[in-house]
Structures are given as structure tokens and as C-alpha cells.
């Protein structure tokens, strides 16, 4: 919210400069996000009087104004539609300088000489945007420098008012805080006006006292619509409001002054005239000021005349009763509407207004009449010349209920206990009283503290502690070194997170970047990967962010595609994150932490030897290394199929009896669908089996000091026999002296049949206690070969 310093100074006398005020406000809880200075950033601009206007002979949209500049009458070409004879204007003479260093020179515009320029507000840097040239009050003398004629200089604070401080959404509200800080009184503005005893009050019926606790309706007659005075226009402009006319401007002005939204009805248009505040009927329709027809629900509160809705309570007025240029008699509404009602209506209709913003945060229920009176004062004082409006003395203050003001039991010792600093009771009392709280009770406490009517956010002792603390300043609270106590027991969560970090860092070491993806994706993308229905967001930002992910792979594949599309030679990405596995409608899903990984492009690339494309065994090797680095045994891979993976190059992975996940090559069909342009290898693994428990400490096993003997053999086998079958069969044989068996060669083609291949095995024999003899090894190796021959119909090559 914008707050003008000039405006603020109307209500509080403090000699602090703008920066000090900004700092004090920030430190008391009204955060100043920005301080903008409005200054006369021009020279040579004077008050001018337009004596006559004639059309420009060479351009339809231009006119030539004859301007009295004080010491001369000059022709100035002007394009503003509001340029007319009799207007008092801001005239920039030859040699004048406007904001941005723009210099005024004698110019020929479409063949006509122009001796200067008539300025708009934004050309003078007085507002961000304006329509037409600035219209100055007629009583200003021609030739007077503009910076003397106009209240130009101001400072505008950008305040970030927190949701609990609706009372500070106004200049008086902010001034009240400032006055409390400075210990000076708040100056309430003038609110008197001429009254007439003639005329009846407009009767007000509040049919829904829950949603409307108070409704003041006051009639003023004989108004004349005219432009607002410049001082008011300047103040409204400073806070970002466009001046329109005295009627509209006054209601806006009081809104920004008191924080009380007001609404002016044209009395002519009110049936009755009478006011009924009631719940809307479902399906009831009304057209609001912005020309939109709204369909209402029973959650909305409407203001009606004797016949129909005339305003949407607290949100926006109705088109049928708005004030017009010829309005003379007005019913002014000042009310207290229940915050939740206004919030729901404004949210449902997407109608956020300055009014709804304030009602939602609650307005002061005790200043309803005063705010109305202030507006009436201004309406009467600023009415068009020649009019003499009067306020009908009798009015309705319908108050079906009193908004509760809680009394809070408060012990000053509680404050000390919570803040950790000794604050004398007297000082606490002073703070509370300065802030408008009524404190009753013995000097040392405990006290009964009544909250002021404008504060709806205080109903606990802790709230009062905050009031005291912010008043004395948080800086007064000491900043001791942190108290650290030794933890009893281990922090299992942190230990686990360290293991995850180790896994991440291992992958970093192998060239993999960590990716972070949104947890949601499009249903179409998800459907390529999983047949099961994902959980869905009801209000996604876009369709490609609707489904909660059930796999990390889809987004990672997308990431790979993105990188390849942008010229990456290869892709190495992994992600650690949760997937969401549905467990039924309305039930929290299982959240499973996964490690996903994608790998495309060269596994190695060097000027010597050239690139080598990644394949399944690079991925498998990485997986085995990862397990080893995390202190896990080697995982077991079994051929498997997934719709999104290559049917011949996919394996499920098991680790220590648990399912770890799946690795494989992305299905070439899917790769083509996703326009990947490269083979992609993917892993989707559960993290828990990898990092869930601390790995046992290594146990030393003597490696045997006697030499080993190796024997190679090549087995001709049916292709259907898996290497793992051969190796585990050897293991099961439990032959003495076999130290290790390793696949060192796989051969296909050549003299072998199409359904055959040859597996080269290197067997290492070793005895722990002696050097093996040739006979020992030959005997063992012979048995091994016999076994394999029998078990797999293998032939020795």
C-alpha cells in the first residue's frame, strides 16, 4: 500500500525525516518496501491560461491554443483532447526542461509554429500515466512558476502491511502507529458540515446481522459535481488513485484516510428510498459498476433498496444506482461487513477492490459514523461553486450487534518469560497504552487488557507480548550465543541424508548433474510410462502440470530431450525426489523417494580412440559401483519388460532381497515419439534399499599370500543361457580352490550358430595355505568343465 508523507503529516507532528519514518515503521512491523520521492524534475514550467483554441489546419487531432503566459500571449500546438479555452494549464516555455532532460524548443508542427508545450502530469513526472493535459485551478495567476503553484514535492512509502493489520491500511492508521512511537497526539481531521432538519432518514433494515454488524446511511442534498481541488488530486495521485470528480474522489479519499470504505448511492435511483441488507438469493443477478452481470449465491451479502440489489456488500456498487455527473442527492453508506463474507464473495467473483481488501481484514466498527461524517464534510466543502449542500440531520445507524472486543488477561512476567529479557511492568504498560490498549490492574500485574476497536488481531497474551516487543523494539532483546546441548541418541534422519549425499556425490564424480524437476507432469506424458492412473491436481497451472509423478523417468527423459535439442553431445542427469503412488481417492499417497538417472551420448570420448556410445553395460557398471560405494553387495539383474523400455534391454534390479527398481534402454519407439534423436539409458530406483540403513562396517578377510593360478575356458552355449546362470551354477558347485570367475569375452557369429554364443571365462584358483600344484588345478578345472558341459550342454571351444 502506498502512503504519502504529505498526507501523513496532516495527522501527526513528528520532525523525523522520510528515511527515519521509513525505518521506524519497518521496525514496528509496518515494513517499508520502498521510498519514492516526488520532486519537481523540471524547470521553466509556468501557469498559463488558454485564451482561445482553433483547429490546426494541417492535422485533425491537433489544435492551436493561444496561451497567456504571464508576459506574452503565444501560440502553442496541442494534441490533448481536453485542451479548451478558459483552461488554466502548465505551460513549458522555450528553454524549459522536462523530466528526462527533454528541452523545449521552438518547433514547426505540421507547418504551424509552436512556441512551447502544454504539459500532462506524466510529462511533468507527477504521475505514472495521465490523460490529457494537466488542468490547474482557475485562480492561479498566469506566469507563476509551477513548482510554486503546485504542492509537488512528496515522499511515497510502499508499505507491506501484513494480513493481521487491516487497521494500518489507511493514512490515519499509519499515523496512529507513528504518533504512538513518537508519543505525540493524533490529530483527527475536520468532520463538521451544515445540516438540515428537513427530510427523513432513509430506513435501514439489516436482515443478516451475522454478516453486517453495522450500517450507517446518511443523506446529503444539493451537491454539485466538480473536479476535486488540486491538493486532493495530488494526494490521491501520490497513492496511485486517479482523480475523477469531487464525489468519487471524496469516497476514495476517506477510504485511504480512515480505512473505511464508503459507497455513494444516487438517491434518485433508490426505490423507497430504503436500504435492506440481506443474504443474496441463489441465482439472483445484478450488474456491478464495471458493467458485468454477476450471478449471486447464498454466500453473498447484498445491499438492496426497496426493490432490488443496488450493491454487492463490501465489494462493488451496482450500476443501477451509481453517482453520475448530474447527481445532487446522495445516500452515503458506511458499514461493517463480516470479513469472511467479503473475502468469499470477492474471491469467487475474482473482484478485488480497495474496499474488499479492507473489509476482509476488518475495519474499525467504532468509527463507522465518524468516517461518514468526514466524507460529508468534504462533500459539502468541495461541492461545485454555487451549490450549498446540506446533510439531513436524522440518519440511520443500524447496529444489530456489537463486534466483540476481547479483554485479555495479561501478566507482565509472561512477557519476560517469552522474550528472555526483563521488561519493567511500567514500560510494558506504557507500550500497551500508547498503542491504544486499555490496561486495568495493579502496577505489577496481572492486568486485564482491553483491545482497541481498530485491532481485531489481538486475543491472546502472546499477542500483547508482541505489541510490547514491537513497541520497545526487537533490538532490545539480547542475542546470546546459541545454546547447544549434546544430542542423546543418533540423528537417524541426518545419517540417512548423508548417505543420500554420498550417492549424489558419487554420481557427480561420474559426470552426472543433479536435476530438479516439478513433481507434476502432463497426463499424456505420464501415460507413456505408466498405465495406472496418477493422482491429479484439481487446479493445475497448466495441463502439462496436472498429474503427480509416479516415476522420475518421464521428466528426466524430457530433460534429456531438452538438452539434446539444445546441442548437448551427451546427457548425464540424475534426480533424487519423491514419486506419489495412489492408495485410493482422498487418501494420502505413498511417497517413495527415488533415484532416477538418464544417460545418452558418449560414455567416453577422447581424441585418441574417439567416442564410444553409452550402452546398457555402462549403466549397469555404474549401478554396481554405486552399490559398492554405499557399502552394499552387488545387485542382481533379471531380464524384464516395461512398456517404456526396450524389451530386450531391460532388467529389474534386486538388492539384498529387496526390489531396487529397473534399468534399461528407453524404448526406441518412445524415443522416436518424444523426438529424442539418441539412444537413452534410464534407471528408476528406490532409494531406501540403497541408503535406508547404515552399511555394516567392512570385515577384514585375509586375502591369501599364496600365488593364484588362472585358467581360461570358452564355452559354446545356447543363447538362451544367461551369464548369470552359468556363474551362479559355478558358485553352487562350491568347488575347492575357486577364488573367482570372471567373464572376459563374449563371442557371437563366425562359426557359431545363430542361436549360440561363446562365453569366455577366466577362473582363478587359489589355496589359502599353500601353493597349488598343476595337478590340483587341473583336477578342479576338469570338474568345473565337466559340470558346465552337463548343466548347459556347453561345448568347450
Amino acid at each position: 500500500m502506498k502512503i504519502s508523507l504529505n498526507w501523513l503529516r496532516r495527522y501527526v507532528d513528528v520532525d523525523w525525516d522520510a528515511d527515519t519514518i521509513a525505518e521506524r515503521l519497518t521496525l514496528v512491523g509496518l515494513e517499508v518496501d520502498g521510498v519514492h520521492r516526488i520532486e519537481a524534475d523540471f524547470t521553466g514550467v509556468r501557469v498559463g491560461k488558454v485564451q482561445a483554441v482553433r483547429p490546426h489546419p494541417g492535422a485533425d487531432r491537433l489544435q492551436i491554443a493561444q496561451v497567456d503566459t504571464g508576459d506574452d500571449v503565444l501560440d502553442v500546438v496541442c494534441g490533448a483532447p481536453n485542451c479548451r479555452a478558459g483552461l488554466t494549464v502548465a505551460y513549458a516555455g522555450l528553454g524549459a526542461r522536462l523530466p528526462g532532460g527533454f528541452k523545449i524548443k521552438k518547433a514547426k508542427i505540421r507547418g504551424e509554429i509552436s512556441l512551447g508545450m502544454l504539459c500532462s502530469e506524466d510529462e511533468l513526472g507527477l504521475s505514472e500515466a495521465s490523460e490529457g493535459i494537466l488542468e490547474l485551478p482557475g485562480d492561479l495567476p498566469a506566469g507563476q512558476p509551477l513548482e510554486q503553484a503546485l504542492p509537488i514535492e512528496d515522499v511515497v512509502f510502499d508499505l507491506g502491511i501484513t494480513a493481521n493489520r487491516g487497521d494500518c491500511l489507511s493514512h490515519l492508521g499509519v499515523a496512529r502507529e507513528l504518533a504512538a512511537l513518537a508519543g505525540v497526539p493524533l490529530k483527527w481531521p475536520e468532520a463538521s458540515f451544515p445540516v438540515t432538519t428537513e427530510g427523513e432518514p432513509v430506513p435501514v433494515t439489516v436482515a443478516d446481522p451475522t454478516r453486517c454488524a453495522r450500517y450507517v446511511g446518511r443523506v446529503v442534498r444539493g451537491l454539485g459535481v466538480a473536479p476535486s481541488p488540486l491538493w486532493m488530486q495530488r494526494l490521491l495521485s501520490a497513492v496511485g488513485v486517479r482523480p475523477i470528480n469531487n464525489l468519487v474522489d471524496v469516497t476514495n479519499f476517506v477510504l485511504f484516510e480512515y480505512g473505511q470504505p464508503l459507497h455513494a448511492f444516487d438517491l434518485r435511483d433508490l426505490e423507497g428510498p430504503a436500504i435492506v441488507v440481506r443474504t443474496a438469493e441463489a441465482g439472483e443477478r445484478m450488474t456491478t459498476l464495471d458493467d458485468v452481470e454477476r450471478t449471486l449465491t447464498a454466500d453473498d451479502l447484498v445491499i438492496c433498496d426497496a426493490a432490488r440489489p443496488v450493491a454487492l456488500a463490501g465489494v462493488m456498487g451496482g450500476q443501477n444506482s451509481e453517482v453520475k455527473d448530474d447527481t445532487t442527492d446522495v445516500l452515503l453508506e458506511s458499514a461493517w461487513f463480516e470479513p469472511t463474507t467479503v473475502r468469499l464473495t470477492s474471491r469467487r467473483l475474482g473482484l478485488r477492490s480497495e474496499s474488499s481488501h479492507r473489509f476482509e481484514r476488518s475495519v474499525d466498527p467504532e468509527r463507522t459514523v465518524e468516517a461518514a461524517n468526514r466524507a460529508l464534510h468534504l462533500l459539502c466543502a468541495l461541492s461545485a461553486p454555487g451549490t450549498s449542500p446540506q446533510v439531513v440531520e436524522a440518519f440511520t445507524d443500524a447496529r444489530p450487534r456489537v463486534v466483540a472486543r476481547p479483554t485479555v488477561e495479561y501478566d507482565p512476567a509472561h512477557c519476560t518469560r517469552l522474550l528472555g529479557v526483563e521488561l519493567p511492568a511500567a514500560r510494558q504498560r506504557e507500550a500497551l497504552e500508547r498503542l491504544g490498549f486499555a490496561v486495568q490492574g495493579a502496577e505489577a500485574g496481572p492486568w486485564s487488557v482491553q483491545t482497541p476497536s481498530w485491532r481485531n488481531d489481538v486475543d491472546e497474551a502472546a499477542d500483547l507480548v508482541e505489541e510490547v516487543a514491537r513497541y520497545v523494539g526487537y533490538a532490545i532483546i539480547p542475542t546470546p550465543p546459541p545454546r547447544v546441548t549434546a544430542r542423546t541418541g543418533t540423528d537417524a534422519g541426518y545419517a540417512r541424508s548423508r548417505r543420500v549425499r554420498r550417492a549424489r556425490e558419487l554420481l557427480n564424480g561420474r559426470g552426472f548433474h543433479q536435476a530438479l524437476n516439478y513433481s507434476f507432469l502432463g497426463k499424456a506424458l505420464q501415460a507413456h510410462f505408466a498405465a495406472e492412473a496418477p493422482l491429479e491436481l484439481l487446479n493445475p497451472l497448466s495441463e502439462d502440470q496436472r498429474a503427480l509423478r509416479m516415476l522420475l523417468a518421464p521428466r528426466l527423459v524430457e530433460n534429456a530431450a531438452h538438452n539434446l535439442r539444445h546441442g548437448a553431445e551427451g546427457v548425464r542427469l540424475f534426480e533424487v525426489g519423491r514419486v506419489f503412488l495412489p492408495r485410493g481417492a482422498g487418501v494420502q499417497p505413498a511417497e517413495v523417494e527415488r533415484l532416477g538417472l538418464v544417460w545418452a551420448g558418449p560414455a567416453a570420448d577422447h581424441w585418441q580412440g574417439g567416442p564410444r556410445e553409452v550402452d546398457f553395460f555402462d549403466l549397469k557398471g555404474l549401478l554396481v559401483d554405486l552399490c559398492a560405494m554405499l557399502g552394499r553387495p552387488a545387485p542382481t539383474l533379471t531380464p524384464a519388460e516395461r512398456p517404456w523400455l526396450h524389451p530386450g534391454a531391460t532388467a529389474t534390479v534386486r538388492l539384498e532381497g529387496a526390489d531396487l527398481g529397473v534399468i534399461g534402454e528407453l524404448h526406441p519407439g518412445l524415443a522416436r515419439t518424444l523426438d529424442l534423436g539418441a539412444r537413452l539409458f534410464v534407471a528408476e530406483l528406490d532409494l531406501e534399499p540403497l541408503v535406508g540403513a547404515a552399511a555394516p562396517a567392512p570385515r577384514f578377510v585375509d586375502f591369501g599370500r599364496f600365488p593364484a593360478v588362472t585358467r581360461d575356458l570358452a564355452l559354446r552355449l545356447p543363447r538362451t543361457v544367461l551369464a548369470a546362470q552359468v556363474l551362479s551354477s559355478i558358485e553352487e558347485l562350491a568347488l575347492g580352490y575357486v577364488d573367482s570367475v570372471r567373464v572376459f569375452d563374449v563371442y557371437e557369429g563366425g562359426s557359431l550358430g545363430a542361436d549360440e554364443r561363446s562365453l569366455g571365462l577366466r577362473v582363478t584358483y587359489r589355496a589359502p595355505d599353500r601353493t597349488l600344484t598343476d595337478e590340483d588345478v587341473s583336477a578342479a578345472h576338469g570338474r568345473l568343465v565337466d559340470h558346465l558341459r552337463d548343466a548347459f550342454s556347453a561345448q568347450l571351444r
Binding site: A163, G420, E466, I477, V484, F512, L535, G586, E591
Partner: protein
């Protein structure tokens, strides 16, 4: 000396001369061996000489033997020298052949990067663990109960508007903050509770500075005697460790539904202040909601946005880079930390 001896000597001298010339002429191992065999081999030039030794006078034989031995040794030396020369030459040649351009690229596996948000998160976690906070965790798909109600944000509370929420069926939503972990931790543990909860949070909002997914780290310390001074002490220390020991840290009043008093904490940054975290004393209603007695226990909570911190730290200009996973972006963070 007898003539015979003199003749022997001359012959030996001649042999030595010949050997020298042969050795000088060879430059291959095989030639050298062959050359050496011509003199010292079984059928070499010394064979006849030895046979002649028998025809000499008995008295002359020792002297003649000495001469022969001397000559043999000399020739051995000649060939040893030649061998050394050949070996040296071979080595020189091998070294020359092994000369490489050391400026050519090495065989690398270029290191991958920890994501910048993760890097900051790791650092924060380490620091807070050092300060005695234990790691806690909660679901990302939360209930309204934990995300809002228990945190003193009933359905009518305007503060719910501060957080645009992604909803799922039923009363489920994507958590808008890590604060529900506070509630879960307090429900699970009797005081003292001293936890941090890093994690993903979600808001339906997206532009240059807002991402629908971002990361927070939540902290909570509740015990019988944890005061706002402790809040200031812990957070000042923490932020100075993070930003530098000489940084100004400023605490100012703010509003969060689940803390009272509430604090916003700024760190000196350039000419002004940068808002880095929100905190406060746990609201008595929140304590009551989890069955704690606010007259017996009290404490503070804080929450901090990690992504923005990462952006400031690394000079990242657009939050969307964080979730695009472009390797040209990520690779810049592969340097050691």
C-alpha cells in the same frame, strides 16, 4: 721375452684391435652378440690361441696364460662398452619415440554438479545440525488439517490467501510450506523438540520470481525455557555463518498465523537489507493444538526459502533456470564447494 711370447702378444694385440673395430661397428644387439662370439665364443678366435698355448715351453706358459687372460678381459670390456652404448641408444630412441604433446586434452570424466539449490540446502542442513537440530520429515501431499488448521489458519483465515494452494481430491493438497512438519514432530515427540525439516513446497504461482515448486527449510525448538532471545541468538549465529561474521542481522515484527510474536529477519546486503527468513515464537494455539501446555512449554520456529538464497548466492537471474535442468546451467555448479 722369447720370440714365441712376443709373437703371441702381437697376435693378441691384433685380436684386441680387431675386436675393437668389430665392436665399434655394431649397433644392434644381435650383431654385437655375433661379433662377440667371433672372439670369445666356443669357436671364436681364442680357440686356436689356446691350442697354441700347449706348444709353448712349460716355463712360458704362465706368462702366456696371463697375456691371454688380459686380452680376453680387454675384449670383454670392449663388448660390454659396446652393449652399454647400444642400450643407451635404444633407450634414447625409445624416449624420443615416447615424446608426446602434453598439452593435448586428457581423458576426462568431467565432474557433474550438485544442483545449486541442493548445494545451499546441504550447507544449511549441516549448519543447523551442528547447532543441535535433528532432521525431520513429512509428506509433500498433506491434509488441510496439517497444512493449515493445526497451524492456526482456519478456513476463514485471510492468511490462507497468502498462499495459493494446489488442491487434490478430498482434503488433500500439496503442502504450501514445510511448517506441517512442525506439527507432526510435536505430535510424535514430547518436548524438548528440536528439529529441522528441509523439503519441497508448492504454490500455484509462476513467473520470473515465483516457481510452483520451491524449497524451504523449517526449524523448530520447543522446550520449557526457549525464549525469543534464543531465537535471536540461534538465527544470528546461523545467518552470520552463512553470510559472513560481520554481516548485520536485523529482526523486525511481522505476521505469521502460527507464531506470536512473529519476526522477519533481514541480513545486511549491499546498501540495504535482504529479507531471508520468517520466524517467531510458536503460537500458543499451535501448542495447544498438539496437546502441549503453552504455560509450561514454549519455543520458536523459523522457515527459510532456499531457492531465492541460491539465486542470490550464485547470481542466478531467473528462477525458471532452476527447474529446466539445462546442462549448460548445471555444469556451472560442478566446481568444488
Amino acid at each position: 721375452m722369447s720370440d714365441a711370447l712376443a709373437a703371441l702378444r702381437a697376435r693378441l694385440d691384433d685380436l684386441r684391435e680387431q675386436a675393437r673395430s668389430v665392436a665399434a661397428g655394431v649397433d644392434r644387439d644381435a650383431d654385437l652378440n655375433e661379433g662377440k662370439a667371433r672372439f670369445l665364443g666356443r669357436k671364436g678366435a681364442f680357440g686356436p690361441v689356446m691350442r697354441e698355448l700347449g706348444s709353448l715351453d712349460r716355463a712360458q706358459r704362465p706368462a702366456a696364460g696371463a697375456l691371454i687372460n688380459e686380452a680376453k678381459q680387454a675384449i670383454e670390456a670392449v663388448f660390454a662398452e659396446a652393449r652399454a652404448r647400444i642400450e643407451q641408444k635404444a633407450l634414447d630412441a625409445a624416449l624420443e619415440a615416447g615424446r608426446i604433446d602434453v598439452t593435448l586434452p586428457g581423458r576426462r570424466s568431467a565432474p557433474g554438479a550438485t544442483h545449486p539449490v541442493q548445494a545451499v540446502l546441504d550447507e544449511l542442513v549441516d549448519l543447523l545440525v551442528e547447532l543441535g537440530f535433528a532432521l525431520a520429515d513429512g509428506p509433500e501431499v498433506e491434509t488441510e488439517h496439517y497444512n493449515f488448521d493445526q497451524l492456526n489458519m482456519p478456513a476463514s483465515h485471510p492468511a490462507r490467501d497468502m498462499q495459493d494452494t494446489f488442491y487434490l481430491q478430498g482434503d488433500l493438497l500439496l503442502r504450501t510450506q514445510t511448517s506441517p512438519v512442525q506439527i507432526r514432530a510435536m505430535e510424535d515427540t514430547k518436548p524438548p523438540v528440536r528439529i529441522i525439516a528441509p523439503g519441497k513446497v508448492f504454490r500455484c504461482d509462476a513467473d520470473v520470481t515465483h516457481s510452483p515448486t520451491f524449497h524451504q527449510i523449517e526449524g523448530l525448538w520447543v522446550d520449557t525455557d526457549v525464549t525469543m532471545a534464543d531465537l535471536k541468538g540461534v538465527l544470528s549465529y546461523f545467518l552470520r555463518r552463512l553470510f559472513g561474521a560481520d554481516r548485520g542481522v536485523r529482526f523486525r515484527p511481522s505476521f505469521f498465523p502460527f507464531t506470536e510474536p512473529s519476526v522477519e529477519v533481514d541480513v545486511e546486503f549491499g546498501d540495504g537489507w535482504m529479507e531471508v527468513l520468517g520466524a517467531g515464537m510458536v503460537h500458543p494455539r499451535v501448542l495447544r493444538n498438539v496437546g502441549f501446555d503453552p504455560t509450561a512449554v514454549q519455543g520458536f520456529a523459523f522457515g527459510l526459502g532456499v531457492d531465492r538464497l541460491a539465486m542470490v548466492r550464485y547470481g542466478i537471474t531467473d528462477i525458471r533456470y532452476l527447474f529446466e535442468n539445462d546442462q549448460r546451467f548445471l555444469t556451472q555448479f560442478a566446481r568444488g564447494r
